[in-house]
């Protein structure tokens, strides 16, 4: 065989190996599609507004504020932490309410930098977080309010903002229409997306009354979940039931009915939202 053939064959094999590895050795993550644009106006309910805030948060803020690594502080305890921060001698802002603190943190993050999260070399006086109303994030005032609504509701505080009447045609860059390929904005949306309500009675969601349930009634999970499997607390049991449904079968129901692929289909965030939701008293 001529040198040319041998060398070409070798080069092709090598390229084939790299390509093959990229296809079969690496998980084929499907990236989020570019965000669509929608309206925010006064006809939205507070729940829709909060859900919109959640979807913006998932898409935009969760990249850093998810608790993975130490890129940005987690925001789950902001309801109790904000007062400490406002009273901290390092605080340079003007907020006196949670809503004002949240808004300030979003548009002027360097006003107060949580210890350890500042830009290197600036002793926590400069935040690496951008002003969310500008640049790549570019949230409109209404979208910022939606995120505030979400954060307030997540912190268990009263939602103090409401959807403003926006000028017609002014769309938020990051508001996503429900049902897009992104993560469901809250537990109810997630439960609906994965059609849990088709088989189970669920708290807070209207079921198909009168039809025989294909799966156990889940409205009282909060009370019973921690006794169903030895060694598993309520959350762990609920999680197991979703990821490995046949591990524990409720009395009167049959194995092999509930789909076993929610682990593949669900986002991690959606799973956790559902677990938390079902484990709560309703």
């Amino acid at each position: 065989m001529s040198t040319l053939a041998r060398v070409s064959g070798y080069a092709l094999a090598l390229i084939g190996m790299f390509t093959g590895y990229s296809y079969f050795g690496i998980p084929q993550v499907v990236p989020e599609p570019p965000p669509k644009q929608t309206h925010i106006d006064a006809s939205m309910t507070i729940d829709e507004f909060t859900a919109l805030g959640a979807s913006i948060y998932e898409r935009t803020c969760a990249l850093c504020h998810s608790g993975l690594g130490d890129r940005a502080p987690k925001l789950d305890r902001i309801g109790s932490l904000w007062r400490e921060r406002v009273n901290d001698p390092r605080y340079r802002g003007k907020a006196t309410t949670l809503e004002a603190y949240l808004r300030e943190s979003m548009v002027d993050p360097s006003v107060y930098v949580v210890q350890g999260f500042g830009k290197p070399g600036a002793a926590d006086t400069e935040s690496p977080m951008p002003d969310v109303s500008k640049g790549a994030i570019g949230l409109s005032a209404a979208e910022i309010d939606a995120v505030i609504a979400y954060l307030q509701s997540m912190a268990g505080e009263k939602v103090s903002v409401s959807p403003r009447a926006a000028k017609p045609g002014v769309a938020g860059k990051h508001a996503e229409a429900a049902g897009g390929a992104g993560s469901a904005p809250d537990a109810v949306a997630a439960l609906t997306r994965y059609q849990c309500n088709v088989c189970h009675r669920l708290p807070g969601i209207a079921g198909a009354e009168g039809t025989p349930a294909l799966g156990p009634d889940l409205r009282t999970m909060a009370k019973t979940a921690n006794t169903r499997a030895p060694g598993l607390d309520a959350s762990s049991f609920i999680r197991q039931s979703i990821l490995a449904p046949d591990a524990v079968i409720a009395q009167g129901f049959t194995p092999g009915v509930m789909p076993g692929d929610f682990g593949q289909r669900m986002r991690a965030a959606e799973l956790e939202m559902i677990v938390d939701y079902l484990a709560k008293e309703h």
Partner: protein, 592 residues
């Protein structure tokens, strides 16, 4: 032909592109179009043609242009250096080798221009609105760029065709021509870089995209200098790798011992250039990533912790391949010397170290996982291997790989020395002590990194790099002192190389090309759905980010096309007198 192309570009541009600085009513209107910033584009702003995927077409044209441009910019740099060395040492063999190197790349110049022209026309036809905006900002820069090609052409043709005529007294003039060629080439590189970095990190425009009129501000994006440094060095390495592949090919197809000796020597030199230039590249990459993070945390995290994180695992595989192949070539090269070297037993340990470091570098950390995967491994990171996936471990690994590679090279060089001075043994023990301390320092800093905040941990990478560099400097200085005061050098039997060693050179060239394609894809794609990040949104149907498999398939197509074309270039280089001179094995070794 280049002249015609340049003229076409200038005249054609006049018709196709809006005048940013003209006086006609059309010009005023066109100029006014950008007065409120970058246009908001919708699907209808993008002409589409059946059977052509606009994004892929532009991608392939751009990538081919980058492959060829890197090659033709990198080669003249080391050609000039080799010619200069030949002139200073009064050794004609270097002069002849430099001449042969540049001959190999001549056919590539036309292909660089062709692919560049193709890229421009595809952009104008398929992305007219984007190109109009870019010319609005960079008009004068682009015109300068086009005119500089005239200068490049003149310098190149005089440098190449005048080589034999400009010997003797005219040699300094020839060297100056080569210097001019490299200066013009570098200016072309940095000008073109500014358009790419503007799209990633726009400067000189406000948040809406309104251009302030200062061309320099638009050029000086925060990512501009890191990209300049990275591409300048990478071009040298790439040029060496491709020329090395040429030498390997000619070695394998050589029929006489003389031919084989000649191309073996050429392959060794080319590989040396490629590896030496490869060593600082990780740090140029770190600088670039640091600037990306500094410019936009969001972009930085998309790059390293988001959807592109897996691509860096593929990068690790490729770089591991390059390091292993380059080292393998050097190990085989020890066979060119008489007798079994005293230090040959170290090779298997070096190989082991390289493999371990590669595996550390290869370990992923922050990944996008499904709920089941998170549940299966008990958290978002692997309980055992997770800690290895962070910067601390990876930076340590890469520094150790570089040290191991340098050690391989050093062992080869030292085996050549005969009749070393009596103090050489102590000097060698000092060098070994430095190696021990360097490795301890690098690993120590790496472990320390786990116990400090993120910004300190990232900062530790600088002393790690400096440790590696200092060790290399210390060892090179001591080696040169020993060599200068030793009795002589061993005989090097150029040509005495196994065939499989030449495949190591092909591996370096192919892996390097593929790696460039992959990295270029990443750099471009972190813009995601923006033409110009945060300023001009991509409104086309292709605004989405591809999955890894699809993206790498396109990269592979680019690499295949490039290899086909470069085979054509090699074939052209084979016409006329191919080899210039064979190095005499009994005389000076002819090593750099």
């Amino acid at each position: 032909m280049l002249l015609v192309f340049v003229l076409l570009l200038v005249i054609g541009g006049d018709f196709l592109l809006p005048h940013a600085y003209g006086q006609s009513q059309d010009a005023v209107e066109a100029g006014a179009a950008f007065q409120s910033g970058a246009p908001r584009l919708t699907l209808t702003d993008y002409p589409t043609y059946k059977g052509i995927n606009s994004r892929v077409a532009v991608w392939i044209a751009a990538q081919l242009h980058l492959f060829f441009a890197a090659f033709v910019l990198g080669v003249p740099i080391f050609v000039l250096v080799i010619e200069f060395i030949g002139w200073r040492r009064r050794d004609l063999r270097y002069d002849r080798m430099a001449h042969e190197f540049i001959k190999i790349s001549m056919g590539a110049f036309a292909l660089t221009a062709t692919s560049g022209g193709l890229l421009v026309f595809l952009l104008v036809v398929l992305y007219p609105a984007l190109f109009a905006y870019l010319t609005h900002v960079f008009g004068p820069v682009m015109m300068l760029y086009a005119l500089l090609f005239l200068a490049e052409t003149v310098c190149l043709y005089v440098y190449y065709y005048g080589w034999d005529a400009m010997q003797g007294r005219l040699k300094p003039a020839h060297l100056l021509t080569g210097l001019a060629l490299n200066i013009v080439g570098t200016v072309l590189l940095v000008l073109a870089n500014s358009w790419a970095t503007f799209m990633m990190a726009p400067s000189g425009v406000d948040a809406a995209g309104v251009f302030g009129g200062d061309a320099w501000a638009a050029v000086a994006s925060p990512l501009w200098m890191p990209l300049n440094v990275h591409r300048f060095i990478a071009n040298i390495a790439y040029g060496g790798a491709i020329v090395g592949a040429y030498a390997a090919y000619k070695f394998l197809s050589g029929r006489t011992a003389e031919e084989k000796a000649h191309y073996d020597w050429m392959g060794y030199t080319a590989n040396w250039i490629a590896v030496v230039a490869l060593l600082p590249l990780p740090f140029a990459g770190y600088w670039m990533t640091k600037e990306v993070y500094a410019y936009s945390q969001q972009m930085g995290i998309t790059l390293m912790g988001g959807i592109f994180a897996w691509l860096f695992i593929i990068q690790a595989v490729l770089i591991g391949t390059i390091f292993l192949a380059a080292n393998f070539y050097l190990w085989c090269g020890m066979g060119r010397l008489d007798g079994r070297s005293r230090t040959a037993y170290l090779v298997k340990y070096i190989a082991g170290v390289l493999v371990v470091c590669f595996l550390v570098w290869f370990t992923p950390h922050t990944l996008v996982m499904t709920a089941r995967e998170i549940s299966a491994i008990g958290g978002t990171h692997h309980p055992v291997l997770g800690p290895l996936g962070v910067m601390s471990a990876k930076n340590s690994a890469v520094n150790i790989m570089i040290l191991a590679t340098f050690l391989t090279y050093q062992l080869f060089r030292r085996s050549l020395i005969r009749d070393a001075p009596p103090w050489a043994a102590r000097a060698t023990r000092l060098q070994i002590a430095f190696y021990v301390a360097a490795v301890a320092n690098i690993i120590g800093l790496g472990i320390y990194g786990y116990f400090v905040p993120a910004n300190v941990r990232i900062g530790l990478s600088v002393p790690q790099v400096m440790t590696t560099l200092l060790l290399i400097v210390v060892c090179v200085v001591i080696d040169e002192l020993i060599a200068a005061r030793s009795g002589g050098a061993s005989k090097v039997y150029w040509g005495r190389m196994p065939r499989r060693a030449q495949y190591a050179l092909f591996t370096v060239a192919v892996a390097f090309t593929w790696l460039m394609g992959l990295m270029g894809y990443i750099r471009s794609s972190i813009r995601q759905h923006w033409h110009v990040y945060t300023v001009m949104r991509d409104g086309s149907a292709d605004a989405f980010t591809l999955t890894i498999g699809h993206a790498t398939a396109v990269v592979s197509v680019c690499v295949l096309l490039f290899l086909l074309l470069i085979l054509f270039v090699f074939w052209l280089a084979g016409f006329g007198r191919t080899q210039e001179v064979t190095p005499r094995t009994a005389a000076a070794t002819g090593l750099p």
